[in-house]
């Protein structure tokens, strides 16, 4: 019934189809999408502020083991952390409204600097992991869908679950044990050796993306060093995400593979491999891409543990460091960035999905 009513409405549309489907309404969509970031950020900031402040202040976290209680409370008073929370909250919001993310409380860095420097590291890791996840996830997911309910499928699915079931810190431990301790072929932590690090200091305009930076330097040893450092973390985070991707791809391809249009194409003699590669794949891509977008957010979350395990000094690493130090200004800054990234990624995903799916019009 709903189909037929839809038929009717599209039927009238078909008479005068819009050619430019990414027009006016589309930008309105972009706008709403972006305006939606504001409440999201606002809510996150609020939650994080109150939860963090309920668990302590940065001064006692840092100096509680050194100062007398009087001295401590004097400093807390001076810093204003003994004011009512709501006053402090409004104070902080006031700063935010002026576009001022502030400076971190524990090490006096402008939050903006933290975001750009460590953001680059996280992006680099996320990018590399995404490559791993996409290759493994799409490759194996499609194989599993094609051979569903056969041995290959079962094997791939168990592999996917293992990827997901193995905590990053345990996987990290095992990887380190194998590659850094036993085989001693890969470094166990960090983004580069100290010597490469020193080389980067020579750059006039370092990007923070070590791969790009080492290309800028034009030094092959630095590049290999950087890549060697990236292997284990990218693998750990990539596999974690790949587990999810395999499942996602498999489910969606199976669903489209069983759909009416694939059946119809089959009835016209289209070969099975083409059915999978063309007819089933492209429609499956729409939900896959949408969910993959959500996964980027998960990846940032997964990055906290991965970055901590491999000392990949990125946003996730800093986030947990600052969280422990109760540096709420720094945490808020990172949270805001993450919220924006999530929103932007989701937005990009929507655009891509819209480009793939001709039905989505704005």
């Amino acid at each position: 019934m709903s189909d037929s009513t839809a038929t009717d409405s599209t039927g009238t549309k078909a008479a005068k189809p819009k050619r430019n489907r990414l027009s006016g309404g589309f930008f309105r969509f972009i706008l709403t999408r972006f305006l939606l970031i504001i409440p999201t950020v606002f809510i996150l900031v609020t939650i994080v502020f109150f939860v963090m402040r309920a668990t302590g202040d940065p001064i006692s976290a840092a100096l509680g083991g050194r100062l007398t209680p009087e001295e401590l409370s004097k400093r807390i008073h001076a810093a204003g952390y003994d004011r009512p929370l709501i006053v402090q909250y409004l104070d902080y919001l006031g700063g935010l409204l002026h576009g001022d993310l502030g400076t971190t409380l524990t090490d006096n860095q402008p939050v903006i600097t933290i975001l750009t420097r460590y953001g680059a590291a996280t992006f680099e890791l996320a990018f590399l992991s995404l490559i791993v996840a996409l290759i493994v996830g799409i490759g194996l997911g499609r194989i599993a869908a094609r051979h569903r309910d056969h041995a290959a499928d079962a094997g791939i699915r168990v592999f996917a679950i293992l990827c997901y079931a193995t905590p990053v810190f345990f996987l990290g431990l095992v990887l380190k044990l194998i590659f850094a301790v036993w085989l001693n072929v890969l470094p166990s932590s960090g983004r580069s050796d100290l010597s490469s690090e020193m080389q980067f200091q020579r750059l006039v305009s370092p990007t923070g993306f070590y791969i790009i930076d080492s290309l800028q330097l034009g030094d092959m040893t630095v590049l290999t060093d950087v890549l060697r450092h990236a292997v284990l973390p990218a693998l750990a985070l990539g596999l974690l995400t790949a587990g999810v991707f395999i499942r996602l791809v498999r489910t969606n391809v199976i669903a489209t593979y069983n759909s009416g249009y694939v059946e119809a194409a089959r009835s016209r003699g289209v070969s099975e491999s083409r059915l999978l590669k063309k007819h089933a794949w492209r429609p499956a891509l729409i939900p896959i891409i949408t969910v993959m977008g959500m996964q980027i957010a998960m990846m940032l979350a997964g990055a906290v543990l991965t970055e901590t395990t491999f000392e990949w000094k990125g946003l996730g690493f800093m986030l947990s460091t600052y969280l422990k130090a109760r540096d709420f200004v720094a945490v808020q800054g990172i949270v805001i960035l993450i919220a924006i990234i999530v929103a932007v990624v989701n937005f990009i995903v929507d655009v891509v999905a819209a480009l793939i799916d001709p039905r989505v019009r704005y």
Partner: protein
């Protein structure tokens, strides 16, 4: 593009000594930090008026020209500076820089800063270019010189640093505002730092190497792998006992140990400990008996060998080994007299005071601030206390910020932990720093303990000019405390560094500072 002036950094890169550490830096600017990680950077790049020479805890002039002189009533301390002192950027280092350095710490009064150390200093004046006068509120204050060598003591360039706010690390690096053994050539907060020898340094500990690079690790096990794989020449601080034990079996690396200023102890809350002032059955005698029984049952050897693999040593004294006044008073007073526990004595003490056994004890520790081995340490203590059925221990751990808030006895609260773990890292290596924060009124431990006699003695020793007289007082204080047991010292930390086989000169002494200057390679 690549910077032209990067040559310095790269030229030395090959021969540079690389150091790995798990320290965390709060600030390079002395006014903004009061922690070991930042201090470890500052001692390399800033000079002090006084500092310890290698292998001693005594203070010697660093950039001061003499040992300083007190005026007749002990309120003014005059220090002469060496002539011709310069910063690496060519600026002269004069008395006015010294005044500037101390004034700004007080002025900025950063929440993370060391201003509280300067509480006794009333004012600083620059008499002339090489003469500085400190006005002190305590007559003949023996801690003044110590304070000058503490985290509040680095001398900075008044032309490069802001007088009323913190100066960012980048500015400090680019203005080359260094007058310590090293200059900082590049710095990335908590990631890496590169040091080059400062040739204009005329102080106590000039660098024996030309360049040092430091990599900051977050996780000790990664640091351990790095030193094992030769990525760093020296690994310093917070390696786990397991790491150190494993490394000491490794022929490619050497383990260097020295005394540590760090102290671990049990603190009693005098309000709510069993029979404490606010307990259901307040009885000072019984309360003391409980404390003494605990002291009798503790087996420090087990803690240091089994839990810490000798990276901590047993501590039977309130003033740690290596400092004046150190005396193992607790060894004789409790246990079997040789440092081993004695259940017999514990039982006697309790019986004598009429305490019903087993005593219920709520024991608190924290495992994110004093290292994860705390859990093992306190599990072992629980076992020791419970072994003979005298105590029944309820062991709990609490996360640090909460822990720190709840342990205190304040006007409004009696604190939440009857018996709990604490640790102490000194601001400067002087016995006073192990007494005042613990037993004086308004102290750091803040456990509701007050003993007028002890308090007076502590005040007295702080103004005692004569060293041997002072030591006498220190011993007296410790004797009193051994009886009172406001806290029970357990362990003294050892400083441990792990170096590559070809690295020499790592000196870990009672200064509790790791100076890069003495390290050589090859």
């Amino acid at each position: 593009g690549v910077k032209d002036d990067g040559a310095g950094a790269t030229a030395n890169a090959g021969s540079a000594i690389t150091i790995g550490t798990t320290d965390k830096i709060t600030s390079v600017d002395p006014a903004g930090s009061y922690d070991n990680g930042s201090y470890a950077v500052q001692i390399q790049i800033f000079p002090f008026l006084y500092a310890q020479n290698y292998n001693t805890s005594e203070l010697s002039p660093d950039i001061a020209a003499d040992d300083g002189t007190w005026n007749s009533d002990g309120t003014e301390f005059t220090v002469k500076l060496k002539d011709g002192l310069k910063f690496a950027n060519g600026n002269d280092l004069t008395a006015s820089d010294v005044k500037f350095s101390f004034d700004r710490i007080k002025k900025i009064d950063d929440p993370n800063g060391p201003s509280s150390l300067l509480a006794n200093i009333d004012s600083v004046t620059a008499k002339d270019d090489t003469t500085v006068v400190f006005k002190d509120t305590v007559p003949y204050d023996v801690t003044l010189k110590q304070v000058l060598s503490s985290p509040a003591g680095p001398i900075v360039d008044e032309d490069s640093f802001d007088a009323d706010k913190l100066t960012p690390a980048d500015t400090i690096v680019s203005k080359k505002a260094f007058a310590g053994p090293y200059t900082l050539t590049s710095f990335k907060n908590n990631e890496s730092a590169a040091y080059a020898k400062n040739d204009s340094y005329q102080g106590l500990t000039p660098a024996k190497n030309s360049a040092v690079q430091v990599k900051y690790f977050a996780d000790a096990s990664n640091l351990k792998l790095a030193v094992q794989q030769g990525q760093v020449d020296v690994a310093y601080r917070s390696l786990s006992p397991t790491d150190i034990e494993d490394l000491s079996k490794d022929s490619k690396v050497k383990v260097v140990k020295g005394p540590g200023g760090e102290e671990r102890f049990l603190a009693f809350n005098f309000k709510i400990q069993p029979y404490g002032e606010k307990s259901s059955e307040p009885d000072a005698n019984k309360a003391k008996a409980v404390r003494q029984a605990v002291a009798n049952l503790i087996d420090r050897d087990e803690l240091s060998t089994k839990v810490y693999k000798d990276t901590y040593t047993p501590l039977y004294s309130f003033i740690p080994d290596g400092l004046a006044g150190h005396d193992d008073t607790l060894k004789a007073a409790y246990g079997d007299g040789n440092g081993k526990p004695s259940a017999e004595k514990a039982k006697q003490v309790l019986e004598a005071a009429g305490v019903k056994t087993p005593v219920d004890l709520k024991l608190q520790y924290n495992n994110d601030h004093y290292g994860s081995s705390s859990a093992d340490e306190y599990a072992a203590i629980k076992n020791q206390l419970e072994a003979d059925g005298l105590f029944k221990v309820d062991l709990q751990s609490t996360e640090w910020t909460q822990y720190n808030k709840e342990r205190n006895v304040t006007d409004s609260s009696d604190g939440a932990y009857p018996v709990y773990q604490l640790g102490w890292f000194p601001d400067y290596s002087d016995p006073d720093n192990y007494l005042s924060p613990f037993f004086r009124d308004g102290n750091f431990v803040n456990n509701g303990y007050a003993n007028k006699e002890v308090n007076d003695l502590i005040v007295k020793q702080a103004g005692e000019k004569d060293a041997s007289a002072r030591e006498e007082i220190l011993k007296q204080i410790q004797k009193l405390e051994t009886e009172d047991l406001s806290t029970i010292p357990l362990l003294q930390g050892a400083q441990v560094a792990v170096t590559g086989a070809n690295v020499k000169g790592v000196t870990l002494d009672a200064s509790f500072r790791f100076r890069y200057a003495s390290v050589t390679k090859g």
